[in-house]
């Protein structure tokens, strides 16, 4: 079965990663990618390496902070945790997204003039 993949807007990937970190707590890159795949029911079909530009960006903005920890299986990995600034940004971005998507929905949902 061919999986269709939804193309991701740059800003929305950031949003999803922040949300993931906010709900799941500190996670490493694999964890985030796996979680996104899982939640989307494999629709996202992320080539997992493409998550890195977003991760780098978020860390450079100061919305996440990375630190090297050990996983349960005692492998080392870089864990990202959301910061206070990140939480604020998440709130702002979520609000903006909800506003925009509501608007688009409204326009799309208009009955065609008969």
């Amino acid at each position: 079965m061919k999986k269709t993949s939804i193309p991701i807007l740059q800003g929305t990937l950031d949003l999803m990663i922040l949300r993931t970190l906010a709900t799941m707590g500190p996670q490493h890159a694999y964890g985030i990618a796996a979680r996104l795949e899982q939640v989307s029911g494999d629709l996202l079909n992320l080539n997992q390496g493409t998550i890195y530009p977003a991760l780098v960006r978020l860390e450079q903005y100061g919305w996440t902070k990375g630190s090297w920890e050990r996983t349960e299986s005692n492998r080392e990995a870089k864990f990202y945790a959301i910061t206070r600034a990140g939480e604020k940004a998440l709130e702002d971005e979520t609000g903006r997204w909800r506003q925009m998507s509501a608007l688009v929905e409204k326009v799309l949902g208009e009955e065609p003039q008969s």
């Binding site: 490493h28 694999y30 390496g49 493409t50 890195y52 492998r75 080392e76 990995a77």
Partner: protein, 913 residues
């Protein structure tokens, strides 16, 4: 979206590249390991898990690249990478790099030198405070005559401006350099030395914002009472020369023209004066001391003694136009209070630059012409380097194609190649700048030498040819532009999308890359065309010089002296005094003849001439002619023989009767085939439309009156206007030096009132020699240009053609293997090589003809300069020589490698390279 944190983080990542790389690698490796772990948990074997993990990640190297690109300033990283590669590539082929840099250095260096000179003359601000707000006053005369005296104002006019012009924060006046005899420390034992000083208003230094380096400068009240403040300020150069930079010089007495002056200060070394001529004055004194500097003149109270340059500092916030309007009104209003022979039509304000009149249209046109020519040299250099890059690019074709096949975008590769070109051109530019600095120093020395010989050993050249920020900006922009110009087409060429054929082994032009060889032919053709243009211009100029060495003015110069004197303000008395002196001069045994009239080679007067002619449509013929006043002894004093007709009688000369003697060329031009004696013509003497009628009484031999470069196309002489002062021409008998000494001693006893104002100039050394110097400088310029063009053209054409032919080695080998005779192959290759050259020469010839026509049109005015000294612009010798040179080079360039190619064993040639 950016914020400061992310910028800072990017800087950190760029700075700590190795650390960041290691961190990223570590993270990606850990990511990979975690995916592998998960897959193994799901039941895959170690090996399968590893492969699946890589697939899921999307490739470790790609992930790493994505990480890297997001981490740093992408463009910065890429540019640095390109620079590193470019450096390495250029260093790897030192021969190519050196030749390219040398070629570019020549082109850029030559242009920079010219710009440095232009900068020193017209762009650099005067060494005063806030030079942008300081303006010079210039007036436009009714007679439209132009020259230094357009900047001359009288002291009463200056006072009027100073007191009434509200738009000027300060108005200063300065005289022209005045020759003085000075004795440092009043030592009567040693001979006084010659120096030149300027009289300046009391607020000169203050208004211009110049402080003293040691001591003090004038205050405004030191200029009030005539003769009351004998103080002097020295220039730094003079202080070093005469007082050996002794700080104790302040307060010492300096004897000037026999009067004791106190030295009160020394200006800083950077202040080179504000005069219109490029000379650093030796000292300054207040205008109040005028009688001591120039006895016998009354500049302070004579409104018609135009002896001062006026500069002004604009009030803050005032526009130049506004101030100009008010100044114009003030000066013209004041002019109604006195009578003068040449009315002022308008007064303009000019931004100050080192030399005056740099806004003059002739200067600008000449400058633009020279810059255009030098730019052509640069273009030839660029064409050379482009060709070299194309040749080199062919060798890198595979590398580039592989890169593009692997996914590099065309823009990225072009950027990479352009970085190389720009780096090359910057290196060439740096070398060129070095050349220009050296050339600037040489130019300074040369100009200093010339001017010292003319003006005296105490001359210090005030222009500064060292590069300033303007020159640096110019060089940088030029380099950038040339780098892109010569780098763009090879870059575009090499990155063409025809990847498949370029990936193959085909490195020859054998059935592939047709447009590349066409591009190269175009380049060769273009190069030949431009070289042709340059070489012909240079060749013609050099021929012109050869002629100019023998240019004979046509009148006597060695023993002829030009004399000017002031006979007082009252016109009637002055006229009597003037004629009495002429009589006296005529009686002196050492004087062969004395006449008065227009001085040769000191400005031109070219009124309109109108002749009634039955044959033409309007009934009359119009033209321009040179005109000179001439007394009855004038032609004799100058040694211009009369060919036909008669000279003026003394009565006609004294009364200003409208009769005229015309030059032979005038007769030929306006009365061809007729006898002009007795005929009439009319002249518009004052350029106001009013015509005065003259009748022809004689024909004089042609001379070079206006300048040394051409025989006057038309010249008429007529008796002097009795109301105007005229220079006197004295022809001496025997040895000029001793006769001059005798004359001076006679003059000293003749009339002490007139004596101080008498000035004598030798026609040869003071007037004509300047023209000869001009021609010699032009010739030097032409020589350099010719040499440069020859070198660049030779290298360029030879190099490229040799390369093109060598690229066809395989083809030649094949043809020989298939049975062609070597002779036929060589001939066909040489002929093909010549085709673009011949095309280029044709274009170059056409361009040269157009340029010559342009030059020819400037000769329409009888007084304008002829740079070619009469060498015809289609001079066959020059054209023939250059054409043969270019053809010869091209033939040799294609023969040598093709002969070498046919000698090679065909099997070798056909083999894989």
């Amino acid at each position: 979206m950016t914020n400061w944190r992310s910028l800072l983080a990017k800087f950190r990542a760029s700075a700590n590249r190795r650390g960041a790389e290691e961190d990223a690698a570590r993270e990606i490796a850990s990511h990979l390991a975690l995916i592998e772990e998960e897959y193994e948990r799901r039941g895959l074997t170690r090996e399968q898990a590893r492969l699946a993990a890589r697939r899921t990640l999307g490739g470790a190297e790609q992930a790493h690249q994505l990480h890297r690109d997001a981490r740093v300033f992408l463009w910065l990283e890429q540019t640095l990478q390109d620079l590193r590669h470019a450096c390495r590539a250029l260093l790897r082929s030192p021969g190519f790099t050196l030749v390219a840099i040398a070629t570019l250095a020549l082109g850029v260096g030559v242009n920079t030198t010219l710009f440095t000179a232009y900068n020193a003359v017209a762009l650099k601000p005067l060494p005063v405070a806030d030079a942008g707000r300081v303006v010079r006053l210039e007036r436009l005369f009714e007679s439209r005559s132009s020259g230094d005296f357009q900047y001359a104002f009288s002291y009463p006019e200056y006072e009027n401006l100073r007191d009434h012009e509200s738009n000027f924060a300060s108005t200063v006046a300065t005289s022209w350099p005045i020759r003085l005899l000075v004795s440092p420390d009043g030592q009567r034992s040693s001979a006084p030395i010659s120096a030149q000083g300027q009289l300046v208003s009391g607020n000169y230094f203050g208004g211009l914002g110049i402080g003293a380096a040691i001591g003090r400068v004038f205050g405004p009240d030191e200029d009030r009472a005539p003769g009351a403040n004998p103080v002097a300020v020295l220039s730094h150069a003079f202080w070093q020369r005469q007082f050996h930079a002794d700080p104790q010089a302040i307060g010492r007495i300096l004897e000037i023209n026999g009067f004791a002056f106190t030295i009160i200060g020394v200006t800083p070394a950077s202040f080179t004066g504000t005069s219109l001529n490029p000379q650093v004055p030796d000292l300054w004194a207040p205008i109040a001391m005028q009688q001591q500097f120039v006895p016998g003149q009354y500049w302070l109270r004579t409104p018609t003694d135009f002896a001062f340059q006026v500069l002004a500092r604009l009030q803050p916030g005032v526009a130049m136009r506004q101030a100009e309007a008010e100044t114009d009104t003030l000066v013209r209003q004041f002019a109604t209070s006195y009578t003068t022979r040449d009315r002022t039509l308008a007064v303009k304000l000019q931004a100050t630059s080192f030399l005056g009149n740099t806004e003059d249209i002739n200067f600008r046109a000449g400058m633009a012409g020279m810059m255009a020519v030098f730019f052509l040299v640069l273009l030839v250099a660029c064409a050379n380097v482009t060709n070299m890059l194309l040749a080199r690019g062919a060798a890198r074709q595979r590398e580039i194609s592989v890169r593009m096949a692997l996914g590099a975008s065309r823009m990225r590769v072009i950027r990479h190649l352009l970085t190389e070109s720009v780096l090359l051109s910057l290196a060439g530019g740096a070398a060129g700048l070095g050349l220009a600095v050296a050339a600037g120093k040489l130019l300074w020395i040369a100009m200093n030498e010339i001017l010292i010989r003319q003006q005296g050993a105490d001359f210090v050249f005030s222009l500064n040819f060292s590069p300033d920020w303007r020159v640096l900006v110019y060089v940088f922009v030029l380099c950038l532009a040339t780098g892109i110009i010569f780098g763009l087409s090879p870059a575009l060429q090499i990155t063409r999308r025809d990847l498949s054929s370029s990936l193959k082994d085909d490195t020859t032009s054998f059935g592939h890359g047709v447009s590349r060889s066409r591009l190269r032919s175009l380049l060769i053709g273009g190069q030949v065309a431009v070289s042709m243009l340059l070489l012909t211009s240079a060749g013609l100029l050099v021929r012109g010089l050869a002629r100019s060495q023998h240019a004979d003015p046509g009148f006597a110069t060695r023993s002829v002296y030009l004399m000017r004197a002031d006979f007082g303000d009252d016109p009637a008395r002055a006229s009597v005094s003037f004629h009495r002196m002429l009589d006296w001069l005529g009686r002196q045994p050492e004087v062969r003849d004395v006449g008065y009239g227009t001085a040769p080679m000191l400005g031109t007067w070219t009124p309109r001439i109108v002749i009634r002619h039955s044959g033409s449509v309007a009934g009359e013929v119009e033209g321009r002619t040179l005109a000179s006043f001439a007394s009855d002894h004038y032609l004799d004093s100058l040694g211009i023989p009369l060919l036909r007709g008669r000279n003026f009688t003394p009565q006609e000369s004294a009364a200003g009767t409208p009769v005229a003697i015309i030059s032979a060329a005038t007769a030929r031009q306006f009365w061809p085939g007729e006898d002009p004696i007795g005929k009439r013509f009319r002249l518009d003497l004052k350029f106001d439309g009013k015509l005065t009628e003259y009748s022809v009484i004689g024909i004089a031999r042609d001379v070079r009156f206006a300048n040394l470069t051409r025989i006057d196309p038309a010249h008429v002489y007529f008796p002097p206007d009795p109301a105007v002062d005229h220079p006197v021409l004295i022809s001496l008998r025997g040895d000029p030096q001793s006769s001059l000494r005798t004359l001076w001693s006679g003059l000293r006893d003749y009339d002490p009132a007139v004596l101080p104002s008498i000035r004598l100039w030798n026609m040869e050394t003071m007037v004509v020699s300047m023209q000869r110097t001009l021609s010699r400088s032009l010739a030097a310029l032409a020589g350099i240009l010719a040499l440069l063009s020859l070198t660049l053209a030779g290298i360029g054409i030879y190099g490229v053609m040799a390369y093109v032919v060598s690229q066809r080695t395989r083809e030649i080998g094949l043809r020989i293997a298939l049975g062609a005779t070597p002779a036929r192959v060589v001939r066909s290759v040489a002929v093909e090589g010549l085709r673009p050259v011949l095309a280029g020469m044709a274009i170059g010839l056409a361009g040269g003809a157009a340029a010559s026509l342009l030059l020819h049109s400037t000769l329409a005015l009888p007084g304008s300069l002829d740079f070619l000294y009469g060498v015809r612009f289609y001079d066959p010798i020059t054209f023939l020589a250059i054409t043969s040179f270019l053809v010869l080079i091209s033939i040799v360039a294609s023969l040598v490698p093709s002969v070498r190619a046919v000698r090679v064993d065909p099997v070798q040639a056909l083999r894989y390279e």
